[in-house]
């Protein structure tokens, strides 16, 4: 089933093709509703069979086909006149016009072989697009249908615009020849090129944890296919595989799924570098399918319809059935079925009746995938009188019954405990919750604050901040010219003056004032407390004496006089002493004291 080696050389080409396809789709999406697709009506054909390249432009009636490519062995064209379709829809009260232009360009194979039809240009609404590379196998005969089986189904069978659907390809071969099969290729010309629908992401067999195998697809890629249990048919037992592809219907009308083929058999490898050559290949085909895409009717559409479409069932559960009033309960709703589960809008419980006494704090999607959606609704019952979480309805349109239906989750009984100290609803505190608080009466406050923002605020605040910073910088610079005020020496000087101030305030007599001042001087000169009491300053006095020392001598004389001749003088005031101290904190009293000690 592998045969991958020859693919390595083609992977780069495949990557470019995928990018080109994505680019084509991307550029088409960029045009809004405009979308261009191109594909063969079949990927494998018998010699002489009528084949078509089907080119579709959705969203414009204005388009043309560029020069068609020339491929040896194939006669391509000429392009016929296009089929144009215009349809007017009324959806959600809005008129929508759907237009589509389609060409069926004939392709006539004249020689058996494998062909690659190179890209050609398509003009649509003034924009140029390029088709992807298309591959075609032409065989003289296609025998072996009885040895294989292939079936293509669409589920669900009836859909509307906006609803996802799945194309399910089931295929296999006779179990009796299974050990001879080393090659198989699915030819699905509609893969990624389905007009009227866009591909949506689905889960692979491996992602779903199923038994899987790899299969060639369209002779240029590998895909994972699910391995099913063997099936019976036509008296044979078939080795069976399945491949699923999800689409979203975008426009109403018919979606044609062209003929699909399975080629299987044995290939011989001639050499390591030589490509494998086919031999004994068998072919089985699945007939084309037409899927009718309808629209959700406006008539009878309920107000609560939130674009949910399909056949869906719901299951509800809660994380806790017993909570305190005001506590959160997580209601988990799981929708499953054939619907557009990924796309519908969640019901807004804030507008739902029957939620009295329950606060709704929002909903979050936990799982959102094909066929399954799980959403968690955050609810908080407010009182112990709430005993039930109500059923949550979802209005949906079922295309199978062509009617609007409402599915509801089951009601869930809960038990809510009243908060301690709050009592029951009959209590006044709880009763206050159930009624509004009274109106404001009386005079308005005499001073009313402003109601509107100040338009000049940025200028005022910015200007004030700038001014403060400028003043600070200037002041700081000025102050620091005399030294750093935060330095330890400066801090000690300030502390000494503060201590002198406190001592002078506490002093009751001239003697105590003299001792307080003496203590200040001793602290500054690093001597004992009484060192400056009665000290003779003559050795440091003279013509060259410092002003501070001169004033110190005068102050000490005055203090002495006040102590010993109290009737003659009151002595210097506290302010005068502080002035002298302020002058002295900058003087070098240590040096003065040393000189005095040497003189003694």
């Amino acid at each position: 089933m592998s045969d991958q080696k020859q693919f390595w050389t083609r992977y780069s080409l495949l990557a470019w093709m995928l990018f080109a396809s994505l680019g084509l789709a991307g550029s088409a999406r960029a045009q809004g509703e405009l979308r261009v697709t191109a594909g063969l009506s079949t990927g494998i054909a018998k010699l002489g069979e009528a084949i078509q390249i089907v080119v579709t432009i959705e969203g414009s009636l204005n388009g043309s086909i560029g020069e068609l490519p020339k491929v040896a062995g194939l006669v391509i064209g000429p392009a016929p006149n296009p089929q144009q379709r215009r349809q007017t829809l009324v959806s959600n009260g809005r008129i929508q016009e759907v237009v589509r232009t389609t060409w069926g360009i004939p392709v006539r194979p004249s020689v058996e072989g494998e062909y690659e039809i190179p890209p050609f240009r398509i003009e649509a609404a003034g924009t140029s697009y390029e088709t992807p590379v298309m591959r075609l196998q032409v065989r003289k005969d296609m025998q072996g249908a009885e040895l294989g089986m292939m079936n293509v189904e669409v589920t669900p069978s009836k859909i509307v615009v906006g609803q996802p659907f799945e194309v399910v390809v089931t295929f296999g071969w006779d179990q009796a020849i299974a050990n001879q099969i080393n090659y198989q290729d699915l030819s699905l010309p509609w893969w990624g090129q389905l007009p009227g629908a866009i591909d949506i992401e689905g889960s692979s067999a491996r992602a779903l944890g199923r038994d899987y195998a790899e299969s060639r697809l369209n002779n240029n890629m590998l895909v994972e296919v699910e391995r099913l249990a063997p099936t019976q048919g036509s008296g044979r037992t078939f080795e069976t595989f399945q491949l699923r592809r999800s689409f979203l219907a975008t426009t109403p009308g018919s979606v044609r799924i062209p003929t699909s083929h399975l080629a299987f058999g044995q290939r011989r490898n001639v050499g390591f570098f030589a490509p494998a050559t086919p031999a004994d290949l068998y072919y089985v085909a699945a007939e084309p399918l037409d899927l009718i895409v309808g629209t959700v009717p406006d008539e009878g559409r309920p107000a609560g319809f939130l674009d949910a479409v399909g056949s869906v069932s719901v299951r509800a559960e809660v994380d806790s059935r017993e909570v305190n009033a005001g506590d959160s309960i997580k209601l988990r709703l799981e929708w499953t079925g054939d619907g557009n589960l990924e796309f519908f809008t969640l019901p807004n419980l804030a507008h739902m009746e029957g939620l009295d006494g329950i606060n709704f704090y929002g909903a979050t999607d936990v799982v959102k995938e094909r066929g399954r959606r799980v959403s968690v609704f955050d609810l908080a019952p407010q009182s112990e009188l709430v005993t039930m979480l109500p059923a949550i309805p979802l209005v949906l349109y079922n295309p199978l019954t062509e009617s609007f239906e409402t599915i509801s989750s089951k009601e869930i009984s809960i038990r809510v405990h009243a908060l301690e100290g709050l009592g029951t609803l009959e209590d006044s505190a709880a009763a206050a919750l159930a009624d509004i608080r009274d109106i404001r009466t009386g005079e308005h406050p005499p001073e009313e604050s402003a109601r509107l923002p100040d338009p000049d605020f940025p200028w005022k605040s910015g200007g004030a901040t700038g001014s403060i910073l400028l003043v600070w910088l200037g002041l700081r610079r000025q102050v620091r010219k005399g030294g750093e005020p935060g330095a330890p020496l400066e801090r000690r000087r300030r502390a000494a003056r503060r201590a002198l101030g406190r001592s002078l305030k506490a002093a009751q007599t001239s003697q105590e004032r003299l001792h307080a001042f003496g203590a200040f001087l001793s602290a500054r000169s690093g001597e004992s407390d009484n060192a400056w009491i009665g000290r003779d300053l003559d050795p440091v006095l003279g013509d060259q004496a410092d002003d501070g020392v001169m004033r110190l001598a005068a102050t000490l004389d005055a203090l002495d006089l006040a102590v010993w001749a109290p009737d003659a003088t009151l002595g210097p005031s506290d302010g005068e002493l502080q002035d002298v101290a302020r002058m002295l904190v900058s003087s070098d009293l240590v040096q003065v004291a040393a000189t005095l000690r040497e003189a003694v």
């Binding site: 507008h351 704090y361 009313e448 402003a450 109601r451 605040s461 600070w472």
Partner: protein, 249 residues
């Protein structure tokens, strides 16, 4: 003579009484109408009173009373709009918040304060009104000036730490004020029509609806026309029928 004096005294007392009573007459009329269940009259009185009020607290109180009138009339969406406007003026009033939550509950709207982290953060940063943030900014500026003066004169580590802290606070408060002014539009309206409001590209009922606004949705008003209001909802501009919305003052 005595009689003349008594008469003069009585006249003076009556005049003083009238002077004192007159300012409260408007309120009394509204209040008495409200108490007697005539909510339409109460609403009319308060709406007239609202025209002359400039102060935030006074407007908040009158808007709150208007909310109570609407609530008693069963107009829960209008009550929600009034309470929301009142809270804009007095964000720290427990009464306003209590009535808003009750009105939102009755109107089928989600709680204004959901109690989660985002709602708590929103309550915190709207705790002060923009003018209050401006006042706080200048108060911090004054403290910053004092701390910088201290730093310049004394240069201690404490003064520098305090100045840094105040400067960061200044940036935070001024930044919050600017952010609120820039992000919360002043001219807001709330959809108070039970069925929501339909946004159209032009002021004409003939034109298709480009956006449906749910009841309770708050959008920015950008223009008005007779019977119509141009609004901006998360980048989508269009026209609403004016009766479907109520201005949040």
């Amino acid at each position: 003579m005595k009689a003349v004096l008594v008469c003069k005294g009585l006249s003076f007392a009556v005049l003083v009484g009238l002077f004192l009573v007159t300012p409260a007459l408007g309120q009394s009329a509204a209040e008495s109408a409200y108490r007697s269940g005539d909510y339409a009259s109460a609403k009319a009185h308060w709406e007239v009173e609202l025209l002359d009020l400039e102060g935030a607290e006074a407007r908040g109180a009158v808007l709150y009373n208007l909310g109570n009138s609407a609530f008693r009339d069963g107009l829960f969406l209008e009550a929600v709009a009034r309470y929301t406007a009142a809270i804009d003026h007095s964000p720290r009033s427990a009464d306003y918040w209590a009535n808003l939550e009750l009105a939102r509950s009755r109107a089928g709207l989600e709680a204004a304060d959901r109690g989660d982290l985002a709602a708590t953060a929103e309550r915190l940063y709207t705790l002060l009104r923009v003018p209050e943030l401006e006042t706080l900014t200048f108060a911090i500026l004054a403290l910053l000036a004092a701390s910088l003066l201290w730093e310049a004169l004394r240069g201690s580590r404490t003064s520098r730490a305090l100045a840094t802290l105040l400067f960061l606070s200044l940036i935070g408060v001024a930044g919050l004020r600017t952010w609120r002014v820039e992000t919360i539009p002043f001219n807001r309206v709330m959809v108070t029509f039970d069925g929501g409001a339909s946004l159209r590209s032009e002021p004409s009922l003939e034109l298709p609806v480009i956006l449906h606004l749910d009841p309770g949705a708050i959008v920015e008003r950008t223009d008005t026309l007779l019977g119509w209001m141009r609004v901006n909802s998360k980048g989508t501009s269009g026209w609403l029928e004016a009766p479907q919305v109520l201005e949040l003052d």
